[in-house]
């Protein structure tokens, strides 16, 4: 399946990368082994996207890629040339919170806050997908976002409230 031979000098060919980041063009020079998550946090300074497990198991790194929720830890940055990336920093409209952000505050849908960026980005997409209506369906749709504080009932309530208001 794999060979153990390695080139004497590993290739480190950095490449230019331009993508749309929260509505603006952003250009970087990136090594191939940089993930989208590390690009956002380390290169773009957008530390609202959290690095939890970094292995695709917790959902803390969830961002929107062309409007679809995606785990930024399991994606190479270079793969996303030209894509529209939305992070938690890109949701509010100036000083006005996004409806899902406001609902999370209203319904006390977090405690420590570490998972919250990912929860909110995932929730925005779940609402846009429009397939989760009952509390059970919302829980299933949100199962890729873990919350170790156990704020799940309030997260479900926040999402249900936004959907009900819509």
């Amino acid at each position: 399946m794999r060979t153990t031979e390695r080139p004497a000098v590993p290739p480190r060919s950095s490449a230019p990368l331009t993508l749309r980041l929260n509505g603006r063009d952003a250009t970087f020079v990136v090594e191939p082994n940089v993930t989208l998550l590390d690009l956002l946090r380390e290169r773009a300074g957008l530390t609202g996207t959290k690095k939890g497990c970094d292995r695709g198991q917790c959902g803390a790194c969830t961002v929107l890629v062309n409007g679809r929720r995606t785990l930024s830890c399991l994606a190479l940055a270079l793969v996303h040339a030209g894509d529209e990336i939305t992070t938690i920093e890109g949701l509010a409209n100036g000083g006005e919170l996004h409806a899902v952000q406001a609902a999370f505050v209203e319904h006390d849908a977090f405690q420590c806050g570490f998972c919250t960026s990912g929860q909110i980005l995932s929730a925005v997409a779940v609402i846009a997908e429009g397939r989760a209506h009952s509390d059970a369906e919302i829980s299933e749709a949100m199962s890729g976002n873990l919350c170790r504080c156990g704020a799940y009932p309030n997260i479900v309530a926040a999402i249900a409230a936004v959907q009900g208001a819509g």
Partner: protein, 328 residues
Amino acid sequence: MRAFEYVVADSSAAARALAREVGAARFYAGGTTLVDLMKADVERPQRVVDISRLPLTAIERRGDVVRIGALARNSDVAYDATVAQAFPAVSEALLSGASGQIRNSATIGGNLLQRTRCTYFRETRWRCNKREPGSGCDALDGFNRGHAILGTSDACIATFPGDLPVALAALSAHVVIEGDAGERTIALEDLYLLPGDEPQHETSLAPGELITAIELRVEPLHARSHYLKVRDRASYEFALASVACAVELDGGRIAQARIALGGVATVPWRAVDAEAALAGAPPDDSAFRHAADVALSGARTRAHNGYKVELAKRAIVRALRTVCGGAA
């Protein structure tokens, strides 16, 4: 993650050529398995060939055959109206796997090649014949609660982790493969190799070959199908046992049945003898239980996975009850 060379392919032919130029190349479709295993140092490609933008995403019906492009995303296929109606087990299997985020990235072709979740494979401190051929297998006498009971060998008991391929096995899907000599189409089951003495060889793909599509046939048998997944959590977890089944009823009897098992075998496991046992039988618990006994008759258990025999049997009975429910 180790360093590697990143190249973008602008055609499937170019992708195959780029992959063959170096000894250790990997195609990047959705990236969800590959990036994970590269971080774990299990996958160490010299070159990653990005195929994610190739135009292989269509879901098309031609006559009685539905062809799904290898780069169609799991979520798009799961919610496709034709797939959900003609192949319910496929849609259910896709939606039972991973999370909404991962399903948005993961591709159909990549999902066929998903690697095992065996801890001893995924963590390099253990011996693993799949990861390091000939090194031994620490799962055999290790903590093997999640490991396979069908299709195992003395070299490997790693469980095939997928859901979709189990449903595809039950629905007699075919895999379209592009190589230098053109396109070839094989039965899904012929894609997978039992571990035997060389568990490092998992598929019948030749170097430089690329999966470009899967094909499913529209027929009444496939429309009455179901995927049942049993796991430790309600969601976002791999199967301890899963069952894909399809049944065609005729005059109060089972005309034909298809059963495939996941979570208990080293490959997507088609239970052909159990299918034969159901043919002509009434759709009742007695027949279902007999078929389940037949399906698990060859099970070989280890220290911690003996429970999977009864679990799989009960899952088979429940899945058959579900698929035969409301029978006309």
